[in-house]
């Protein structure tokens, strides 16, 4: 008989892991060092940290290496690790204008206080494959003649509009304690702090796609960005003895604030507001997040405007797992489905070789 009962177990799992690890070494080249990943693939580690909800550049680099470059898998490793860590304290809220910005552009105004700072970007570079990249270790900025002046704080462009009373506050600005979506289940309608957390940890591609859906016409939000910033935000905690705020470290973040001219939806003609913030450098995600934040706040019938829909599908770890679970065996449920299909066909008078029945048989697995 050709049939062999499907037995697998731990030996097979181990061998599958071994084969996966073999891929890392079968090229016989030098192993990639964690520092190399951290320093040379900052965009990958940024994405992993943002989606993992854990700011830890070296752990992220390790995760990226372990995942052989797959960012969702790397984010997953970070989240699983993060969930085992003790929660010691919460940081003090920090004002975005405390950021030491290395890049700040304001599409809303030609000139803004503090000026436009292009910073490190390839936005305006022609996308040509660089065949001279291999051995290039020189620092192209080594001869730059820059002043050693201390960095200045940049006024938020949004503050200019706020001072004029042109921007409506989002609900939730007076929430004392932020909701912690990693410790409490999110129910709807969710507080805005929960929405922002879920978006900030959302999968970059999903945020981009849903944000784009609004721009593409499935929604009414087409924002003007007050500014996009990349820089370091101080992390401050309350000193356990003195009670004074103490800066303990800083995190690199990308932040954007957007205004949305949909005053028709409001009695008081003011700009609606959208906010985006993510760890590391990930401007696309921050901007997409600001579109979704504004879309959810304004509401509507389109997918990007439905809070429950957006938050249900935005999480990369959730969607990753459930999409890939379809690889698991399903023969029990499939047998149940076969039983229904055959019963419906018998009732319809079909024989096994006739046109297939078109009934949709569901098993929800």
């Amino acid at each position: 008989m050709g049939y062999v009962a499907v037995t697998a177990g731990e030996e097979v799992i181990k061998r599958a892991e071994d084969l996966f690890e073999k891929r890392r070494v079968e090229g016989n080249d030098d192993p990639v060092e964690i520092d190399q990943v951290a320093n040379q693939f900052g965009r990958l580690t940024s994405q992993a940290m943002g989606e993992g909800g854990l700011y830890a550049p070296r752990l992220a680099a390790r995760a990226v290496k372990q995942a052989q470059g797959e960012t969702t898998e790397a984010a997953f490793l970070l989240r699983a690790y993060r969930s085992t860590l003790e929660r010691w304290d919460y940081t003090d809220p920090v004002n975005p204008s405390d950021m030491f910005a290395t890049r700040r552009v304001s599409p809303a105004y030609k000139d803004v206080p503090g000026g436009q700072i292009l910073g490190a970007t390839k936005d305006y570079t022609q996308r040509l494959l660089d065949f001279g990249l291999d051995d290039d270790t020189s620092d192209p900025t080594v001869d730059w003649d820059v002043d050693k002046e201390s960095p200045q704080r940049l006024q938020n462009v949004m503050d200019v509009l706020r001072e004029d009373g042109l921007v409506a506050d989002q609900p939730g600005v007076d929430e004392d304690e932020p909701f912690d979506s990693t410790r409490e289940p999110v129910l709807f309608p969710a507080p805005r702090s929960a929405v922002l957390q879920e978006l900030a940890r959302g999968e970059t591609g999903a945020i981009t796609a849903l944000g784009y859906s609004s721009l593409r016409g499935y929604g009414s939000v087409h924002p003007t960005l007050a500014e996009v910033r990349v820089g370091r935000l101080p992390v401050r905690i309350e000193h356990p003895y003195t009670g004074d705020p103490v800066e303990v470290t800083s995190t690199e973040v990308t932040e954007t604030e957007a205004v949305v001219p949909v005053y028709a939806k409001r009695d008081d003609p003011r700009f609606a507001f959208g906010y985006g913030l993510t760890f590391g450098r990930n401007e696309r995600k921050a901007i997409g997040m600001s579109i979704l934040d504004a879309s959810i706040a304004l509401g509507g019938e389109e997918p990007a405007e439905d809070e429950e829909f957006v938050l249900d599908v935005i999480d990369g770890i959730d969607s990753f797992g459930f999409i890939e679970h379809l690889k698991l065996p399903h023969y029990v449920t499939f047998q149940s489905t076969l039983d229904r299909i055959r019963a419906l066909r018998r009732r319809a008078g079909a024989t096994d070789n006739a046109e297939p029945a078109t009934a949709e048989v569901s098993d929800d697995d």
Partner: protein, 357 residues
């Protein structure tokens, strides 16, 4: 309630040792040996980093989850038991397994397990499925439990999409992995709207859906995950178990826990609760029927799946591999062979003269 007491007893089990695997991998165990819970692991940055570099599970708490999380899961379980069939939200933690692969089940199992327990994991009826093996391995490595493939030996069984063929007892807990928590999702994608329907016991959309099934196809087309009414109050998905297993939930001796990690819900069917599949008077609930017996053990009273062999043959085989092996040794063995009574109802009644297709 006995099931409450049972769960409460388990919740009171304070772990007094780490999993053996946790200590075996590290040479620097001095800071961890005395530590109860993961507070010890976080005492120093060095300790944390050391644990990151380890390929074992050093540095993790007993049964992987921290005690606070396990207590929270047990509270959700107790609440679920108190309101049979009601979906209780809980803060599902990221696990080292992919979401949709049994993370709700493993969080629940790990919250219940103590060193005295014997744990069995089945996936689609098989102990040997790779995912079942992976889940069993996690419990084995972190919770230091005995594992078994024998249904009658286990105190806690985690399962995906099957209820075992052998009769389960009041000393056992079955943890079912749930992919889609709400049967109303068939008629409305919004859980928010469906929570309101549950609150009002408003299941009219579901009844209309079933009625339209009958009008369009002559019968109800739902395969697995057949919706049931629990305790005459809550509409519930029994998880995608085949209809064959659905009657086992009704008035059972066992506590059934249903856990969905990705959807962050836990619900329960306590022992001796009424569980009624939705059906019409003239369109009764039907289980799967099989034209043949199991090719290996000859059973006609078990759930079979059909197998296409390399040589083009199609045969039927028991899905519950553990029980099938027992039947191969002894074809006369009853599903209640391990009990001190016989004639226990467990699963569908024997098929009558082929009237239910």
């Amino acid at each position: 309630m006995t099931e409450d007491d049972q769960a409460a007893d388990r919740s009171g089990q304070a772990p007094d040792s780490f999993a053996a695997a946790a200590n075996a991998e590290t040479s620097d165990t001095s800071s961890r040996d005395s530590a109860a819970g993961n507070s010890g692991t976080a005492n120093s940055v060095d300790g944390l980093l050391a644990s990151v570099d380890d390929d074992g599970l050093a540095g993790y708490n007993y049964a992987y989850l921290d005690e606070h999380t396990k207590r929270e899961v047990r509270r959700a379980v107790l609440k679920a038991i108190a309101i049979p069939g009601h979906q209780v939200p809980f803060a599902s933690r990221p696990m080292p397994l992919a979401r949709g692969w049994g993370t709700g089940g493993i969080q629940t199992s790990l919250s219940l397990l103590g060193p005295e327990d014997t744990f069995k994991v089945i996936d689609q009826g098989s102990d040997e499925s790779v995912n079942a093996a992976n889940i069993r391995r996690l419990a084995d490595r972190t919770a230091d439990v005995e594992t078994t493939t024998d249904t009658t030996d286990a105190s806690v069984i985690q399962t995906r999409h099957r209820i075992p063929e052998e009769v389960m007892t009041e000393d056992q807990i079955l943890v079912l992995q749930v992919p889609t928590t709400d049967p109303l999702r068939k008629v409305d994608g919004s859980d928010d709207a469906n929570r309101r329907r549950h609150a009002h016991k408003n299941y009219s959309k579901m009844w209309v859906y079933l009625y339209e099934n009958v009008v369009e196809w002559g019968e109800i087309q739902i395969g697995a995950a057949y919706p049931v009414l629990v305790n005459d109050r809550y509409l519930m998905s029994p998880s995608p178990v085949p209809r064959w297993d659905t009657p086992k939930l009704d008035d059972a001796d066992t506590l059934f826990l249903f856990a969905a990690g990705r959807e962050a819900r836990i619900y329960a069917v306590p022992p001796h609760t009424d569980v009624e599949p939705l059906a019409f008077q003239d369109r009764s609930f039907q289980v799967e029927r099989f034209a043949e017996a199991c090719r290996f053990c000859g059973s006609r009273d078990t759930y079979l799946t059909e197998v296409e062999t390399d040589d083009g043959d199609r045969l039927f085989a028991c899905n519950d591999t553990s029980f099938c092996e027992k039947r191969q040794d002894n074809p006369e063995i009853e599903k209640s062979h391990h009990l001190d009574r016989s004639g226990v109802e467990w699963g569908p009644p024997p098929a009558r003269g082929g009237d239910d297709a």
